[in-house]
Symmetry: C2
Subunit: 317 residues, 2 copies
Amino acid sequence: MITVLAGGVGAARYLRGLLAAVDPSTVTAIVNIGDDTVLHGLAISPDLDTVTYTLAGAIDPVRGWGLVDETWRAMGALARYEPVRPEGSRAGATWFGLGDQDLATHLYRTARLAEGATLTQVTAEIVGAWGLGLRLLPVTDAAVRTLVDTVDHGTLGFQEYFVGHHHSIPVTGVRFAGAEHARPGPDVLAALDDAEAIVIAPSNPLVSIGPLRAIPGIDAALQARRDRVVAVSPIVAGAALKGPADRMLVELGHEPSVVGVARLYAPVCGTLVIDEADAGLADAVAAEGMRCIVTPTVMSSPELARRLAETTLEAVR
Amino acid sequence: MITVLAGGVGAARYLRGLLAAVDPSTVTAIVNIGDDTVLHGLAISPDLDTVTYTLAGAIDPVRGWGLVDETWRAMGALARYEPVRPEGSRAGATWFGLGDQDLATHLYRTARLAEGATLTQVTAEIVGAWGLGLRLLPVTDAAVRTLVDTVDHGTLGFQEYFVGHHHSIPVTGVRFAGAEHARPGPDVLAALDDAEAIVIAPSNPLVSIGPLRAIPGIDAALQARRDRVVAVSPIVAGAALKGPADRMLVELGHEPSVVGVARLYAPVCGTLVIDEADAGLADAVAAEGMRCIVTPTVMSSPELARRLAETTLEAVR
């Protein structure tokens, strides 16, 4: 049993490498749902879908999100309604791209949730429809929502910050609304308690892994298994490979380096895997109380992703 | 001011003719919403959309519903999820065709309703987006739903009967759930009280016009203006031009002829327009207490639709 704490793109690539290295039926991914949103009445779970589409080999390789060979007819038609919506309405918004095929996933999820299914149940059905061998667990079935405090635009929902503003505006705080009263989804704590290895994927520590850790019980479960927990740094040579993690670390008072990542993870994680580019910081990581493993972490090919997965597993076996 | 009581396809064609004959800004259509449904979480209003798309010149001329030049990528992708949905779930259902561009209308409507807008408001916005000159009023903002009692499949929602079963199964009853407590939408009664002419479009009297008349206040408003009310028979030579009106009339104990239509409308409507094919029944219509006008009613061309509109207006002027 291997359990992976996952955000979106980076985690999906890590998981793809992991599934090439081990029997997929032994893998559970606990996935961030703080990015989830409702747009046009549709329940949208970006990280769950990015992981699913990536592992199904159906992700668009250029955009890095959504489905390959996608069309945009519905969005194109929606633009007709943007001019008539009243001031302040989010209806007809086309800033969040929803491809025609991708829409089907949201339609299915929305319909099932409306029927009373939990996100955990719907996710299992979607994973089954795509024929994936691993288990994907939303970290909670509660509606935990990541909110981003900004300098010039007030508090934004995560997608408004990330997509609407291209994550290019300064951030003064991140919160996870609803987290304090949320409970881990069914099987989530068991997946942490029973795992031979727990991997924190190379995702944004603040807004991808942060929402998971904000759910009461998760950090305690990780602490209890700290020697079995290994994280892959999403920061390489002081920069995020994707997304705003580096800027966000700075803006929220952290060091934008593997040392900053180590400080965030040290309480719950015994080992940090960092890239060779950061070899010079290995001692500083160790000084934070973590074992430090230096290896190529940039998953620029499936083979490198597989090797990274093997290295992380060996680190805690 | 001309007010038209409208269902879907037949009413849309009549309205197209009417708009060619008079200033569109003088026309109000009060439209059936008993066919409305929620599928995949989307608020779908088939009759409102058929009227809108037809008047915008965007209806698919072959199917008679949905948009021309449509694609079906979302529906195609949704089929992936049909095998994984649990028994009894309606999620992933593909029996109700939603084209990619058509989806945009449902996404916009759903988002606006979720924001608290009324169907009347959203409809005005959609009509504005399509640049139509008339006013479309849903007969009510309440959720009145047409239910169809069937012999072999119990009680069905209208779309399950009409689309799911291709309206090809015997019907034992029709009900309008929620109608008794519904109120006419804003401006609906005024549109009846103030109209110079009130036209009951050639729509199914039972399931298109029936839901309008089931709303308390509508029949009384029509009765008060009975001399100004003119209906166009949707039955020609004993058959419906489209849909199940003829079979449904028989199944529910009515005569499938212009005389059967006259009996249904006589209490609220002073004049019935019938096709030349039914000229022999003009006296029988008159015997039901209605003026009877015989004219070509089959709108096989825009010109014939315009002439039919002019004839109906002259009948009550």
